[in-house]
Symmetry: C2
Subunit: 476 residues, 2 copies
């Protein structure tokens, strides 16, 4: 029965896109609403997001950031103040033209991102270097009208956090940009068991209004890459457009240096596509709303439910998120449901197990079963197995990433790898948009990030002297 | 210096409305945005909301509720499905007519509340009594286009939670409605130190689409009353409009019985207007982002800052939210700032105090000072004082409520009380809308809630046999 396909969902290798949406629906993560691109986050999906939020929020607060809440709507004129920014977002705007039965004097845009609102606040409230830095963050939903939408990966509405900080010096702002990228990727590793590739975006791929955009990118099971979080250095561009000035220590007026950084419910998509398999979702323990499910065997036997409850209480005391499935379904059915929902660890307990003072522990990630004694070490042992599951899942994802990260200096090989295996391919590049576009048009792959400069080689495309190495990949 | 007025804000008794907005701004709870009725929740104000959220969310989860997230936008046709509901909300709608440069085929409404979205989901997903109850809740912002707006009290956008539940039987749904009202008011007491008056709304004042609305109402310092949370029993009205049917235990089709309940950032307004004074905000300890502020006296003395940090570490270990103000302002200035922000407890520590192994503890709520020894009992003593502050604040608010809750059977007296003292006035009422409207028009007071039936008296207005007692008050 191990690795047997769950009939409710499509096989990963048959149709990865269908497998993905099957899981979204069958694991009850989400449902569709009647408006395209606006999904319903059902309890199980939202609980995963709450855990992601809680962990990142803790990290943000530990590094001095404070949460705020800015208005949902942005006056059209405010959004237009920074030229590159409005050019990037105008085609995706949802526009409010009526309020309370009347036509509005000025159109209002549902925030696609809130740089402009933060800038307006900062320009009102910052006067002196003593007011700096401001390290603000906001958790909210944003709206970007998308033509092609997929649950969690690309929606017309999605949930995210957006950090917006202003600083006295360029150095400090640049440090913040990189610090947040590091927090993003380290937490992805430690909490979501996802190894990230990080680096700088090319000019073409950077955020509308940023001087530099840093990104973390993750490799999915199908060889395609998902942008999973970005951190932007704005320099003084917005500060000048919005007149965010302060008196510095030498009593001179200066513009602030600014950053912003965001990650979203996309991470749920990454978890599904990196860790899931043909039987459903596989959740890393730390982000699993239910970490342990206890399934009683022959539950009509009073002793069995009593023991199951006893084990539950023991695990609850150790802050393990545990549930008993004592519904009137068969154990086999319960196993399948728990596997579909990706619950990391299952405990089976029946009369014979109780007799022998043990239970059966099943690991969702590798389908192994082991006997665990119900002695005084029980809770500790379960904790240890959860810990192991996290590490095994991370190692497996890392191995897949390493096995599918390539390097070449030959254009035909680049094409061949991307069209057959997928994955990341590192190539030398001259930095010219034309070469980047050629690869996009001919191979259908985009530059994901620049891991380092490289002036030793020749551009894979035009043969001129290279400036950087750059990762190309097909992407979501 | 005790009770001395802080010059930065208006006196409560001079102009209560101005005093209120002064505090909102000077305590840095919020700021205005460029759109009327859309406020910015600044870090200190938002931190208060996060604490309120956390506490209520815990209570909701303990009683089996699960969080979800529904779309921001509602198709106009969906909002129109329940006749009373759309009539109530249509005049307040913000309407999206364009998305991604194109005119939309159907207008979309920014959610003013999400009954219709939950109904749509439930009608799709519920088929059997086994699927019931569904106990869902959502934390989000909603938009209702308001003509007159005030920070936290009435905004075109505000933050809230909305619970939406469906049940197999009327009995269960009615119990849920009352259970949530109880959780609302008990948590207001235990967490916010606010005594609530609870009861049923009249037909006129109930929620658009509800069969019954229950409310908790709080008395502000100025004698006016603030509706602070409502819980609605819908019966099967929405279920029939949205076709939410299930096969019951007898294998017959039946419509579900439904509730919804909501509370909002209005509670921040209640905290300000109930507890605050002429020197600023006064926060009940449990909802204070900073519970204790340590202000070093002669901080240029190294020993002083060292000791201050030592005390901070001790309190942190007891999970007390504590900060040191070691800025270069004078102690007197720091005192004023901490008072403005309503920090419940201030510790002053200087060289002489260290010599005597003690500190000075100042209670924000009653301006008393006491010496507290820095011995091994220190943390416990501080915890106890915070605990006392909560109780004292609640008792003070309760006394004010009791002192300003009246009862009369005489129309002129009702008028006189409401026009001079304010407060709640309990009167017998026939249940007729005409009498309710007469009081509203002649006295400017509205029915707040029905605490109990009363068929023993005569209606205070028309003299016919009474049906209920009802509380009248002037209100926000």
């Amino acid at each position: 029965m191990d690795n047997k396909k769950n009939e409710a969902i499509c096989r990963r290798d048959d149709d990865f896109a269908k497998w993905y949406t099957d899981i979204c629906l069958k694991a009850e993560l989400m449902d569709y609403s009647s408006i395209k691109g606006f999904i319903i986050y059902k309890p199980y999906g939202y609980a995963i997001w709450e855990l992601i939020q809680k962990e990142y929020d803790k990290k943000f607060k530990q590094t001095g950031h404070k949460n705020v809440y800015m208005p949902l709507l942005i006056p059209e004129s405010l959004l237009k103040k920074e030229a590159d920014h409005v050019e990037g977002f105008a085609p995706e705007c949802a526009v409010v033209t009526k309020g309370g039965l009347d036509d509005l004097e000025e159109n209002l845009i549902i925030r696609p991102t809130s740089e402009t609102l933060f800038c307006e606040l900062y320009s009102k409230t910052v006067k002196s270097y003593r007011d700096l830095p401001k390290l603000y963050n906001q958790w909210c939903s944003v709206v970007r009208w998308e033509k092609t939408t997929r649950p969690f990966l690309r929606g017309s509405e999605f949930l995210w956090q957006e950090g917006h900080t202003i600083h006295e010096t360029e150095k400090e702002a640049r440090e913040e940009t990189l610090k947040m990228l590091k927090i993003y990727s380290e937490t992805a590793k430690d909490f979501l068991a996802i190894p990230m590739v990080t680096g700088k975006k090319t000019e073409k791929e950077k955020f509308a209004g940023a001087l530099e955009t840093y990104t973390m990118e993750a490799l999915m099971y199908d060889g395609k890459v998902l942008q999973s979080g970005t951190s932007h250095y704005f320099g003084q561009g917005f500060a000048k457009a919005f007149d965010i000035k302060f008196l510095d220590k030498d009593n001179k007026w200066n513009y602030v240096y600014q950053t912003s950084w965001g990650l979203s419910t996309r991470l749920i998509g990454a978890i599904i596509m990196i860790h899931g398999d043909d039987n459903g979702l596989i959740l890393p323990p730390k982000v699993a709303p239910t970490q342990v499910i206890i399934i009683p065997i022959r539950q009509e036997n009073e002793e069995v439910l009593k023991k199951a409850n006893e084990l539950k209480e023991k695990l609850l005391k150790k802050n393990i998120r545990v549930e008993i499935d004592n519904s009137d379904k068969t154990p086999g059915w319960k196993f399948s449901e728990a596997e579909m929902k990706g619950i990391p660890l299952r405990i089976e307990i029946g009369p014979k197990d109780i007799e022998n003072n043990k239970c059966i522990v099943f690991k969702r990630n590798d389908y192994t079963k082991q006997e665990v004694s119900l002695d005084s070490n029980f809770e500790q042992k379960i904790k240890q197995i959860l810990y192991d599951i996290h590490n095994e899942m991370y190692e497996k994802a890392l191995k897949n990433l390493n096995d599918n990260t390539f390097e070449t200096k030959d254009y035909e090989e680049l094409k061949n790898i991307l069209n057959t295996k997928g994955g990341f391919v590192k190539v030398p590049w001259c930095g010219d948009l034309k070469c980047e576009m050629k690869i996009k048009e001919e191979i259908g792959a985009t530059s994901r990030c620049i891991p380092n400069d490289n002036t030793e080689d020749k551009c894979i495309c035009c043969g001129k002297k290279s400036k950087h190495d750059v990762y190309f990949a097909k992407s979501y």
